[in-house]
């Protein structure tokens, strides 16, 4: 199929970017979206034009490195997938496709379609862990039974890949789905209890410091999340946050 790509090009964080138009012919429907961009880049190199920079790595929907706002949607038109899992059969011959980076104040652009999501790492460092040393001499794993339902819910929250689609989609650029996924995972498990209060206070605090907005329950994040992380997690985080604020000694 033949397509017209409108792609955001920006040399660096401080320079001004713009949408540039690239016609592309011979795209096959079995190509993934990123393979289509590889294909474009090969042609650009042949023409002596610098290839488009975008983040990607595992190309199987789990590393969370790929991003892209495609035709106004994080990770494109399909649900519960990342951009690398989007295939060109979702588009048709003659389509014009708009490709932009994830946009948020806390995600500055590095180059072209690549953004800096290190704010997410800093939120995790504020409390996204259980303080246990790695000696291996903890108690036997089966000495901590966890009801299956809780374990399953904790797992569902823990599947967050940290891609940032939730932030890019949210009109407030809120990172609450991201932060709440980790907070919920530990909140649902007995191992997470001793530090639960501090964790929620510190992680939410860091989220605010990074310049992410607040949640207004629009729910767009849940729709665009490639892993289907539930809004329920935000509710759980808010409840935990309220409890912690009222009862913490700090």
């Amino acid at each position: 199929m033949d397509l017209t790509l409108k792609i955001w090009r920006q040399e660096g964080p401080q320079t001004k970017g713009e949408m540039k138009s690239y016609p592309i012919a011979g795209v096959e429907e079995d190509m993934s979206f990123l393979e289509m961009l590889d294909y474009l880049n090969e042609q650009l190199i042949d023409q002596g034009i610098e290839p488009v920079v975008f983040d990607h790595d595992c190309r199987e929907g789990i590393c969370g490195m790929c991003s892209l706002f495609i035709n106004g949607e994080a990770h494109g038109p399909s649900r519960k997938i990342t951009t690398c899992q989007l295939h060109m059969r979702e588009f048709k011959d003659g389509d014009t496709i708009y490709i932009e980076p994830f946009r948020a104040k806390a995600f500055p652009i590095v180059k072209d379609l690549m953004v800096d999501r290190s704010a997410f790492d800093r939120i995790q460092r504020a409390g996204g862990f259980i303080s246990v040393n790695t000696s291996g001499n903890t108690i036997d794993a089966n000495a901590i039974p966890v009801p299956k339902e809780d374990a399953d819910k904790a797992f569902d929250a823990a599947t967050c890949i940290g891609c940032g689609a939730c932030v890019a989609t949210c009109k407030n650029s809120s990172a609450m789905l991201f932060a709440s996924a980790k907070i919920s995972q530990f909140s649902l498990l007995p191992q997470g209890q001793p530090e639960a209060k501090e964790r929620v206070l510190n992680m939410v605090n860091q989220m605010d410091l990074e310049g992410f907005g607040n949640c207004t329950n629009t729910g767009a994040c849940e729709v665009e999340c490639p892993k289907g992380i539930s809004l329920e997690n935000i509710a759980r985080m808010n409840r935990d946050y309220l409890l912690a604020s009222l009862s913490s000694n700090k």
Partner: protein
């Protein structure tokens, strides 16, 4: 240099405990004076960095991704083995040890493998304490499943995302240390050169991939946790960025490469669909618990399917060839990966393959769906359930077990695996070979260690499913943090290593020259153009089946390709600032040298073992023929300037606890 594997003396089961007790300790006050560099933040790297920092060393960790959480360990699907015997099916440390040795086709070190089996149990305890949400049964206890090559259920899992959950666990431990200031994290940084001072690894030259700047980082020891080199085949299940550069730079500086030809071709991947494909996607081995693998028994049927006139569901049961069940009745669909891969290739080469390209076989869940459905109907007390009801119930069970994998498959192929069998074909997945290390995981360069997939030590010629995660975490959490003590205990008075030395100077100069050469090359072909050609040579001649003629051809073809690459590669943009094409060029340059060494290694190993199948050495039934008399050794290659002219050093493998037998899964 004679290879000293430093295997401790004594009874197998006591070696590790005894050795651990004898490794010199570094006092807490002295640990603060010692710097350690960890390159790579997958399971091995994250866990090592976290553990070393927790012990008190100053750690610098590097990863080329934008966050340590994205290392490719994240993509491991099926599970992690541990000899917990929670299922009461007769598992033990010895059995896990034995299965791993046998699965590796008797080409790994007994002492290393036993240590791995011993610490496997601690991994599960550790991960659960960290909040890793493993799958649980209705009693709230941990659940297990089976993997290929074993007859017990010892695999712990978190749906089809076990690697993700374990890596996020290690990442959380790493984050805890970063937050304390014990680890300094350098994301979007790639190691470009190892710096060796007075014969010891004392630092690295790293490139800041965002600014293009080269940075000098010194340390008392360098740990390479940089994964495998499957991307030498271009198409593999590795991430796009996975590369051999860090390990190869160490190799060029004196670290031996061990068994580089031992490559794991995973039997269950989504088949290649077209020329523009950038990677292959794995379908977890866990699917072989319930999926039955078959091709049509009659060639006409296979042809009909390939031309699109027949549908797999039209082929009657008696016209299907469940070739694994037929050839290997004892293990059936759960034979080890190398065996399953070769069997698929054999059927496809014989003309029974099923997709358009003829290079695919079926993985069918219909029987499992009906079996689970009937069970569910019984449990729920549904009387006189129709086939459709049973099928619907069964599909729910299968969805709970493998939902994310089925969804992934459907997204890529646009075919629904609940309704028609999956199509799969073998693809490059894992490399058992890697940097040679002694029992302390130290390479032949003092102070340079290799952990996880980057080393060669535990899997012999074939890795069993769910053992890569086990090894990565074992090395990082429980082995290296102790064994580095032997080397570092001598460094308590050394003081900070200066980065102003001539060794750093020279290493940086080398890196700059390499970079400038690419930028100023003014060639006409892209990096990928060469990488794809390299991949084709590797897959055709150094892939699932190898022979002398092909391997010799590969060596000369790769040489020629390398020359062409340096003469004609085109890298646009500048060396200042972000330039992913430039980074890729450096990686592919190293893969090209490695490819040549792999072919050389495969050529010299005149036997078939594990993932290394030489067509000249097979039985009449097409099974691999090992030659224990001549080849019970590790091939450790010393770089001499040209990969194919590397010097071979042999580490003889002695088996004191296991009898060498022909592997049989029949």
């Amino acid at each position: 240099m004679a290879l000293d594997s430093k295997i401790p003396a004594g009874v197998l089961a006591d070696k590790w405990t005894k050795h651990k007790g004898e490794i010199p300790l570094v006092s807490p006050a002295n640990k603060r004076l010692i710097d350690v560099i960890v390159v790579g933040t997958g399971l091995a790297g994250s866990s090592a960095a976290a553990s070393l920092a927790e012990m008190g060393y100053n750690v610098k960790a590097f990863c080329f991704q934008d966050s340590p959480r994205r290392a490719h360990s994240i993509a491991a699907q099926g599970g992690i083995n541990a000899a917990k015997n929670y299922q009461n099916d007769g598992d033990s440390v010895y059995r896990l040890f034995y299965d791993t040795i046998k699965g590796g086709d008797y080409r790994s070190r007994e002492a290393n493998v036993h240590r791995l089996a011993e610490v496997s149990r601690n991994i599960i305890d550790q991960c659960v304490a960290q909040g890793v949400p493993f799958a649980r049964d209705y009693g709230g206890l941990l659940d297990n499943r089976s993997f290929g090559g074993v007859q017990v259920s010892r695999t712990f899992y978190a749906k089809g995302q076990t690697g993700q959950q374990l890596l996020l666990g290690a990442y959380s431990a790493l984050n805890r240390q970063i937050a304390k200031g014990r680890v300094k994290m350098y994301a979007r940084h790639e190691m470009q050169e190892l710096v060796v001072v007075d014969g010891k690894a004392r630092g690295i030259i790293a490139k800041n991939l965002v600014t293009g700047e080269f940075e000098r980082h010194s340390a008392h020891a360098v740990l390479l946790c940089t994964g495998g080199y499957g991307n030498v085949f271009f198409l593999s299940t590795n991430a796009m960025g996975s590369n051999v550069t860090a390990a190869w730079k160490a190799h060029r500086k004196g670290a031996y490469m061990a068994n580089p030809c031992f490559t794991q071709i995973h039997p269950t991947c989504i088949p290649v669909s077209g020329e523009n494909q950038s990677k292959l996607t794995l379908m977890s081995e866990s699917l072989r618990n319930d999926g039955r693998i078959w091709v049509p028994a009659q060639k006409e049927d296979a042809e009909g399917i390939r031309s699109g006139t027949l549908h797999p569901n039209d082929i009657a049961e008696e016209h299907r060839d469940y070739y694994l069940e037929r050839r290997y009745p004892a293990f059936g669909n759960l034979v080890p990966r190398d065996v399953a891969s070769r069997a698929a290739k054999e059927r496809c080469d014989a003309g029974y393959g099923v997709n358009k390209t003829g290079e695919a076989v079926y993985l069918d869940f219909a029987a499992a769906i009906m079996r689970y459905g009937a069970e569910e109907a019984h449990v729920k007390g549904v009387k006189n359930a129709s086939d459709a009801d049973i099928k619907a119930l069964g599909e729910k069970v299968v969805e709970a077990k493998y939902g994310n994998l089925f969804q992934m498959y459907e997204k890529i192929t646009a075919s629904n695996p609940y309704k028609e069998p999956m199509m799969i074909y073998p693809a490059v997945h894992y490399t058992m070979g890697g940097l040679w290390v002694d029992y302390n995981l130290m390479t032949t360069i003092p102070g340079c260690f290799a952990l996880g997939e980057a080393n060669f030590s535990d899997h012999g010629a074939n890795r069993l499913g769910a053992s890569a995660l086990m090894q990565g975490l074992a090395d990082g959490y429980f082995v290296a943090p102790y064994t580095v003590g032997e080397f570092l205990s001598k460094d308590i008075r050394t003081g900070t290593i200066s980065t102003d030395s001539k060794e750093f100077e020279e290493a940086e100069k080398l890196v700059r020259e390499r970079t400038d050469k690419f930028i100023n090359n003014n060639g006409t072909k892209s990096v990928d153009y060469f990488h794809k050609r390299l991949g084709k040579i590797m897959w055709n001649e150094v892939g699932m089946a190898r022979n002398e003629k092909g391997l010799k051809q590969a060596i000369s073809d790769i040489k020629a390709l390398r020359e062409e690459f340096y003469a004609n590669v085109r890298v646009l943009g500048s060396a200042n600032g972000m330039n992913p094409e430039l980074d890729k060029a450096g990686r592919v340059a190293d893969l090209m040298e490695l490819g040549e060494l792999m072919a050389k290694d495969a050529l010299e190993r005149n036997e078939s073992c594990g993932g290394h199948f030489r067509e000249e050495y097979q039985s009449e039934e097409g099974e691999a023929l090992r030659d224990d008399e001549k080849f019970t050794f590790v091939s450790a290659w010393e770089f001499t300037g040209v990969p194919a002219e590397a010097n071979l050093h042999k580490e003889e493998l002695t088996f004191e606890n296991v009898e060498l037998k022909t592997r049989s899964y029949k």
